[in-house]
Structure formats: structure tokens, C-alpha cells
């Protein structure tokens, strides 16, 4: 009898499993970028014969098509960056939902806690003068430390929250833990505020300036319709994207190729059976919250890095969007969270960037949130299990 390689009972060939998501990431990003770009160019073409063109000519000195084209690279970069931020938060929602079938409403506050702890660490370093004249390597090192500390704090909070507010409610009707989660969310918001205002006297915090994160990496220059187009990307956007990709790959590896990951998936599918296999359900749930929380925390620090300013309510909208992204992609499905995040980030950035021009100033970026919810509703109506959600095997 051929011996079955035992390691493979938990671990598929590791490198393959680790980089498998890369292909998805690249194809998803490329596909949604191309589709949306073509779509927007089409709209611009259509609008070329209308008053919008004159509006563009008078306000921006170029015709609508050139304007659209000129903005496109930057919009794509911004959209993808935002998409990865959403994806990173959405992973946390999806992890918890996958295992407990419960929307962890307080995940946005976990995100905020990660952001605050990470930023406070950096501010403390900054105040201690650590950042004056440091090398680039050290800057990146400190950033990574901040992200890790943020992850630990957020993961810890998530675990605590699970033990205090959710575990006693396991098995209760669906709405009960959801309401408890709303309670936790409110509690944490004010807790952050209390702690921050007691210690620093204020509660919005600024990501300190150091390293080369704000600088831009020039990719190329080329001429389009008579104007020079500069294609460049900020270092912090690159960091956000790389960090999100790394997190996704690691998560994918943990969930799909390790023993605990397999156990978590087993718990997600059939809790009673899993416990009959000797799996400690509570431990698995705790680990799930820990991973989800840590991802949220990392996303929080990255968010602070990218957008500079955070306050205790910072998690609310990104959290809501990330949830939308998770549902859009098929909640419970890790790849779905990535796709949903990318699609939503891109759509939102596209809407925010072009709506104002295309409507001649009548409706602006403020409507991008409405767009996000409209998409959520539409997706839920026509594909209740999301873009990549599985129909089979769902509990009724």
C-alpha cells in the first residue's frame, strides 16, 4: 500500500497555496479596471455631443474625452488602493461571518482601535524624536512595527469582545447577537474617545510624517491629446496594496493549508460535527476573531497611513463599505471579499471622480455612498449570495 504523505492532510504544497491568490488578485484588479475604464470612456464618448462637453471645455479647458482619459490612470490607482483597504477590512467580516454566520457589526471599531494604537505608537516615537533623520529602512521598519502592534491590539480587542458580548449569546436568535454587536460598536467608539481625550485632550489623531510615504514614484510620462500625462503612484499606496496582498496571501494560507485553518473551516460548516472531532469550538471562534481582528487592525493602520487622519468614528463608513464589499463578493468567501472590495473601491472612486464632471456640477462625490448602497441592494436582490457566493451547502 502506498503511504499517503501525511503532511498533506493539512498542508497542500505550501508555496503553491501561498501564492495562489496572487493570480486572482491580478486578474480581478485588471478585469474590473478594464471593464470600468471602458465603461467610463463609453459614457464620455456619448457625452461628447452634449452640453457636458462645453462644460468641460469652459471649466477644464479640454474636451470631455481628454479629461476623462487624463484622469483615468490616477482614478484607477486610487480606486485599486481603496479597494484593497476595503478588501482588508472585508476579510475580517467574512472570516467571522463564515464561522458564526453573524455580522460582526463592531468590526469597524476593531479597525478604529488598530488605527489608533498604531498611530499612537508612531506618535510616541515621533515625540521621542526617533524619526529625525532616520534611514528609509528604519522608517519602513517602524511602520511595520506599528502595523504589528495595531494588529495585536485589534485582535486582542476582538477576542475580548467575543468572550464578553457574543459567546453568551451563541445559539440565540440571529438578531440578538447583532444587537449586542451594535452595542459593542457604540461602546468601543466612546471608549476610544474617552481614552484618547483623557490622555491627549483630543480624539482625532494625525499620522506623523516620516519616511518617504508621501512621495510619489514616477512610472512614466506620455503625451495624450497634446497634454503630458504623468503616471505616478504614491509610495503609501504601494505599501497599502502590498500589505493587503500579503495579508490576503497569509490568510489564504492559514485558512486553506494549516491545521487550525482546516479546523476553522470545519467549524464553519458544521459546529456540532467539528466538536465531535475533538475540536475546541470556542478556541476556533477565538482564533477566528483574533485573525479577523488583526486583519482589521492592520487595515486601520494602513488606512491612517494612506489618509492621515483618524477619529473614533473613523471605522463607521469604511466598515459599512467593507461589509458591502464582503456581501458583494459573497460573504464567507475570502476571494469574494477581495473581489467585492476591489469592485466597490473602484466603482466608488470612479463615481466620485466623474460624477461631478458628467453632471456638470449638479451631483458630486457625495453620492458615491448612495451608489455603494444601491449596488448592495441590487446585488442582494439578483444574487443574494454575492458574486462568488456558493449556493450549495448554505444552511437554510
Amino acid at each position: 500500500m502506498i503511504a499517503v504523505p501525511i503532511r498533506r492532510f493539512y498542508q497542500n504544497p505550501s508555496i503553491r497555496e501561498l501564492i495562489r491568490p496572487l493570480g486572482q488578485i491580478i486578474s480581478f484588479s485588471a478585469a474590473s479596471s478594464v471593464v470600468l475604464s471602458l465603461l467610463i470612456l463609453l459614457v464620455a464618448l456619448v457625452l461628447r455631443g452634449t452640453a457636458v462637453n462645453e462644460y468641460a471645455l469652459s471649466h477644464y479647458q479640454v474636451d470631455i474625452l481628454t479629461l476623462t482619459l487624463k484622469n483615468l490612470p490616477q482614478v484607477l490607482i486610487d480606486g485599486i488602493t481603496l479597494g484593497f483597504v476595503y478588501a482588508a477590512i472585508a476579510l475580517g467580516y467574512t472570516m467571522v461571518y463564515g464561522v458564526l454566520e453573524f455580522i460582526n457589526f463592531a468590526h469597524s471599531e476593531i479597525f478604529a482601535i488598530g488605527a489608533f494604537v498604531g498611530v499612537e505608537v508612531l506618535i510616541a516615537m515621533n515625540n521621542a524624536g526617533v524619526f529625525t533623520g532616520i534611514s528609509l529602512w528604519a522608517a519602513y521598519g517602524f511602520l511595520i512595527i506599528a502595523i504589528l502592534v495595531g494588529m495585536v491590539a485589534a485582535g486582542g480587542t476582538a477576542v475580548l469582545m467575543e468572550i464578553v458580548a457574543y459567546r453568551p449569546l451563541r445559539g440565540a436568535p440571529r438578531l440578538v447577537p447583532l444587537i449586542s454587536a451594535i452595542g459593542v460598536s457604540f461602546f468601543l467608539q466612546d471608549l476610544i474617545r474617552l481614552v484618547e481625550s483623557l490622555t491627549t485632550g483630543q480624539f482625532h489623531r494625525i499620522f506623523p510624517t516620516f519616511g518617504n510615504f508621501d512621495k510619489r514614484l514616477l512610472i512614466s510620462n506620455f503625451d495624450i491629446a497634446g497634454t503630458t500625462l504623468e503616471l505616478n503612484i504614491q509610495f503609501k499606496s504601494i505599501i497599502v496594496i502590498i500589505a493587503a496582498v500579503v495579508m490576503l496571501m497569509l490568510l489564504n494560507y492559514i485558512v486553506n493549508a494549516t491545521k487550525i485553518g482546516t479546523a476553522i473551516r470545519a467549524v464553519a460548516q458544521d459546529r456540532a460535527s467539528a466538536s465531535l472531532m475533538g475540536i475546541n469550538i470556542n478556541l476556533c471562534v477565538v482564533v477566528t476573531f483574533l485573525i479577523g481582528g488583526a486583519l482589521g487592525g492592520a487595515a486601520g493602520v494602513l488606512y491612517a497611513l494612506k489618509f492621515t487622519r483618524i477619529d473614533p468614528f473613523v471605522g463607521f463608513f469604511p466598515g459599512l463599505k467593507a461589509f458591502t464589499a464582503a456581501v458583494l463578493g459573497g460573504i464567507g468567501n475570502l476571494t469574494g471579499a477581495l473581489l467585492g472590495g476591489l469592485v466597490l473601491g473602484l466603482l466608488e472612486t470612479f463615481a466620485g471622480s466623474y460624477l461631478y464632471i458628467f453632471t456638470m456640477g449638479a451631483a458630486g462625490a457625495e453620492y458615491k455612498d448612495i451608489l455603494a448602497f444601491a449596488i448592495l441592494i441590487i446585488v442582494l436582490i439578483f444574487r443574494p449570495s454575492g458574486l462568488l457566493g456558493e449556493q450549495v451547502g448554505q444552511k437554510a
Binding site: 479546523a263 473551516r265 460548516q269 458544521d270
Partner: protein, 517 residues
């Protein structure tokens, strides 16, 4: 003219053909029964008839109207009412309110009338309440009208569910295992009730039932389905003598020929023997446990024991508490009272995963495999608590020896396996930890007779060759008693009979109640 006619009804779930081209005619005023093994597609067929599922193919016609594509509430308006296999009452409403909800289609109050409390409204409400009181009296529910449905005992809940469906004044009543969990006397009363419904109220009844005594006693016609297909139809006496039916229910010796001879030829790989307890020493003993499912008192002072090297079977009607007993042993349900000892160690209060570590393997009802994990991963999860890799290796080889088929399916998702393969996987997964005692819950459920035989042979082999004690819960009492050493008979959460399996099998009461004889 037929009250209800179904032609070629087909329902698929993914790749699984749950109901396959089923034809059924229900004449007005008849009592028609549908029987078949668990998982044969009976309830799915009911759900398709009542619109909870939409059939993939086929026609369903009620009094000249097609029901296909209608919503359940629209179908209900054709005077079709139903009950559910696992009672679905409105738990936090009173008995009275449950019945009033059943009258929904019979009440004509609309928003203005409700808000204005018109005379019409008051009159209708008065009549509705009076009618509800009548129904309660009819179903023996008088006096509990203001109790919450969830606080009622099981049998009363069953009655309430029937009362609720009667409130709709149905012409056709679909009853899904209405006597499950009733003791023989209650079943008898239920039989009389069903006849009364037909004779006095003129209600046509379509019945899914396991209790052969009930089925044979009151049905005008019986349809037998297996694997979603109709395998027989006719009057009770015709069905009783139909060989295909007997085969589906009782299995046949012929299946033995199909077992994997190759594997037998090979030297069996043995599990490492645990420090062998003397045969006959008590392995598991349960003392006087009480368990609850929500408000339902499911086990009332159950005591039983399993000795080393024994196969012990628990038999009894659906809802008698068999599965609950197993679930209480493995900690999925908490015993409120009593003690569970595994080789003297008290495991009553341990969480399930520690009970597993203590040496209890549990193959749950419905197999409980992880559908989205591969066979490899399913087995891997089964070996979760073992950190010794070579040991896992040996155990894997052992289960592959028992179930060579699994090895071929190693990278297939659990959900895509056939029922029999899933059952093998479930048992294999339960064996990986080398349990001292294996709890098997309905291992033959939904399996073809051939496979049922195979599974039972494996059970016997495990017991004989590897000395694993087995506590078996089985619907197929006939089969179970054949293989078991000892048996306990459960009824409504209590042990009513215990003893040597062969003696129990000969017990006339048991025969009539569970063996359809």
C-alpha cells in the same frame, strides 16, 4: 375527480435528485400514505406540493388549478394545510394564537376593519375564537389555550400543530410524520383521530408515516418511494407483500456478495489495541440523565450501560430520544441531571471536544461530514487532536483498508460524495481517533439496501476484529437487533424495555410497534 394530482414531479438539489418523476393521485375523501426509508424524498415531495420548493419538472394540479409556481401562501388558499416533520409551531405565541394564525386564510378582516374595530371585525373575531375553542376541545387542548406553544410537552405540540392546520378548514391535509415521538397508545389515538377527520369533517389526508401499524391501519392507498422514485403503490395488503418494498425496508442478504472481497483477502491492519479492558467490564454507563431541547423534556431519567466489546442498540420511534441520548453522551446536549461515566471517569460536564479526547467517537445523524472540505481534509479534521504524524499515518491506512473507496476520492469535496460514500467517510472519520466506544446515529439512513448491509457488516467487523464497543441508534430496528448484543427500547424519553437483542426482537410489543409486524 382527484383532489390532487401530481404528474412527473422532479426536484433536484444541485446534483442530487431528491424527487424523481413522481406521480401521485389523491382522491377526495381518501387517506393516502407515503412511506419509504429516511431520506427517500418524502418531505421534499411535501415541500414541493406546498410550494416551499418549486419543482424542476412536472405538474401539480389541485381541483383543476395548477399549483406549480405558486407561492406557499397562494397554495394554502386552495384549502391545503400541512404539518411539519419536526414540529414548527410559533413558539412564543399562545396555543390559542397558534390556532388563530392557522385560520388566516379564513378570516376576511382588512386594515380599515381592524383599525375601526367594526362590528364585522368583532363578529369575525368572536367566531374565530369560538371556533378555536372548538378545535382545542376537539384536539384535547382545552385548558392550555393561554400557554405558550414552546412550553407544551412534545405530544401536545404535535396535537397543536394538527389543530393549527385544521383551523384553515382544509380539504386536503398533509401530515408529515404526525405520530413521530408518540408512544403506541398515543399513536393509536392519532389513528382514530385521522379517521375521525376524514369521516366526520370530510378531510382528505396525505400522510407521511413511519409507524407501519398506523399506515397499514388507516390508509386507503399507500405509495412507497425510495431514492425519490416511486417503487410501489397500492392498497395496504398489496404493499405488505411487495418484495421491492420489503427489500427497501429490510435489506437483503444478497448485498453481502457485493462487499469488497479484495480487502478481505489482505491481512487486516489492526488498530493498536488500547490496554484492553476485560471483555464484559463496563465501558460506558449512564445514570439517570435528564436532558432538554429548549423547553422540551427530551430525556427523562435514562440509565444504560455499554460493556467492552458490545454492540448495544437503542431503538424507538422518531422523537423518542435516541439521538438525544447519543448527543448527551458526547456533550452536544447538556444533561441537567445524572451522570455519564466512561470507564469510571465522569464525563458529564466535559465539553464535547474533551469527551472525544476521553475516547468517545460519535458519528452523528445525517453523517455531519464537512461538505466543502475534501475527503482528505475531512479525515484530517477527524485526526485534529493527534499531533503524532506517523500515528495519523497508521490510522489513515487502517481506515483506507476498511473503506478502499475513500482513497480514490481523496481530493473530492465531501459534499459531492454519494450518500453511502459520505456514511463511510463519517465512520472513517470517527475511527481515526481510535475511540473506545463508537456512537453511531442512524448509519443506514437514506442508504440503498446493499449499502445498508455493507455498513452493518463493517460495524460487526469493527466490533469483532477491533473490539470497539458500539452504541447504535437505528431506525431499521430489524437490522439493528440482528447485529446487536443487547438493546434498549426508548419511548418518549424513557427506557421502556431492555435486554438481549434477540429477546427484544421477539417481543410482540416491540414487533408491533417498530417492526411493522
Amino acid at each position: 375527480m382527484a383532489l390532487l394530482e401530481a404528474r412527473g414531479v422532479t426536484k433536484r438539489f444541485g446534483g442530487l435528485l431528491a424527487v424523481n418523476k413522481l406521480d401521485l393521485t389523491v382522491e377526495a375523501g381518501a387517506i393516502v400514505s407515503i412511506i419509504g426509508p429516511n431520506g427517500a424524498g418524502k418531505t421534499t415531495f411535501f415541500n414541493t406540493l406546498t410550494g416551499l420548493y418549486r419543482p424542476d419538472e412536472g405538474h401539480i394540479v389541485c381541483q383543476g388549478h395548477s399549483l406549480v409556481g405558486l407561492r406557499p401562501d397562494q397554495i394554502a388558499k386552495f384549502s391545503i394545510a400541512r404539518t411539519f416533520q419536526n414540529i414548527r409551531l410559533f413558539a412564543n405565541m399562545t396555543v390559542m394564537e397558534n390556532i388563530l394564525v392557522g385560520m388566516h386564510t379564513r378570516l376576511f378582516q382588512d386594515m380599515p376593519n381592524v383599525l375601526l374595530r367594526s362590528r364585522k371585525f368583532k363578529l369575525e373575531e368572536e367566531q374565530a375564537h369560538a371556533r378555536a375553542a372548538e378545535l382545542m376541545a376537539f384536539m384535547g387542548l382545552t385548558g392550555v389555550g393561554d400557554e405558550l406553544a414552546s412550553s407544551l410537552p412534545y405530544g401536545v405540540q404535535r396535537r397543536l400543530e394538527i389543530a393549527r392546520s385544521l383551523a384553515a378548514d382544509p380539504k386536503l391535509l398533509l401530515l408529515d410524520e404526525p405520530t413521530a415521538g408518540m408512544n403506541p397508545q398515543e399513536s393509536c389515538e392519532a389513528m382514530i383521530l385521522f379517521q375521525k377527520l376524514r369521516d366526520q369533517l370530510g378531510i382528505t389526508i396525505l400522510l407521511i408515516e413511519h409507524d407501519m401499524k398506523v399506515v397499514m391501519g388507516i390508509s386507503d392507498r399507500i405509495t412507497v418511494i425510495d431514492y425519490g422514485e416511486k417503487i410501489a403503490e397500492g392498497a395496504p395488503h398489496e404493499i405488505q407483500s411487495n418484495t421491492r418494498v420489503i427489500e427497501a425496508y429490510l435489506g437483503s442478504g444478497a448485498a453481502a456478495a457485493l462487499t469488497n472481497k479484495e480487502s478481505e483477502a489482505r491481512r487486516p491492519i489492526q488498530l493498536e489495541k488500547s490496554p484492553a479492558p476485560d471483555a464484559g467490564a463496563t465501558l460506558l454507563s449512564i445514570e439517570n440523565i435528564d436532558s432538554y431541547y429548549g423547553h422540551i423534556h427530551a430525556l427523562k431519567g435514562i440509565s444504560l450501560e455499554v460493556k467492552a466489546g458490545e454492540i448495544v442498540t437503542l431503538i424507538g420511534a422518531n422523537g423518542a430520544g435516541k439521538s438525544t441520548t447519543l448527543r448527551t453522551i458526547s456533550g452536544l446536549v447538556r444533561a441537567r441531571q445524572g451522570k455519564i461515566l466512561l470507564r469510571g471517569q465522569n464525563i458529564t460536564k466535559l465539553p464535547p471536544h474533551d469527551i472525544v479526547k476521553a475516547g468517545v467517537g460519535h458519528v452523528p445523524e445525517g453523517r455531519g461530514i464537512f461538505p466543502r472540505l475534501t475527503v482528505r481534509e475531512n479525515l484530517g479534521v477527524g485526526a485534529f487532536i493527534i499531533n503524532d504524524q506517523p500515528l495519523v499515518q497508521r490510522r489513515m491506512e487502517y481506515v483506507f483498508h476498511l473503506f478502499p473507496l475513500l482513497k480514490e476520492r481523496l481530493d473530492q469535496k465531501g459534499g459531492t460524495l454519494s450518500g453511502g460514500e459520505q456514511q463511510m467517510l463519517a465512520i472513517a472519520r470517527g475511527l481515526i481517533l481510535n475511540p473506545k466506544i463508537l456512537l453511531l446515529d442512524e448509519p443506514s439512513m437514506g442508504l440503498a439496501p446493499v449499502l445498508v448491509d455493507l455498513i452493518f457488516q463493517i460495524i460487526e467487523k469493527l466490533n469483532k476484529e477491533d473490539g470497539i464497543a458500539i452504541l447504535l441508534v437505528e431506525q431499521n430496528a430489524h437490522m439493528a437487533l440482528q447485529y446487536a448484543h443487547r438493546a434498549y427500547v426508548l419511548s418518549t424519553g424513557q427506557i421502556v424495555l431492555q435486554g438481549d437483542a434477540r429477546e427484544i426482537a421477539q417481543n410482540p410489543q416491540v414487533k408491533s410497534a417498530y417492526l411493522g409486524g
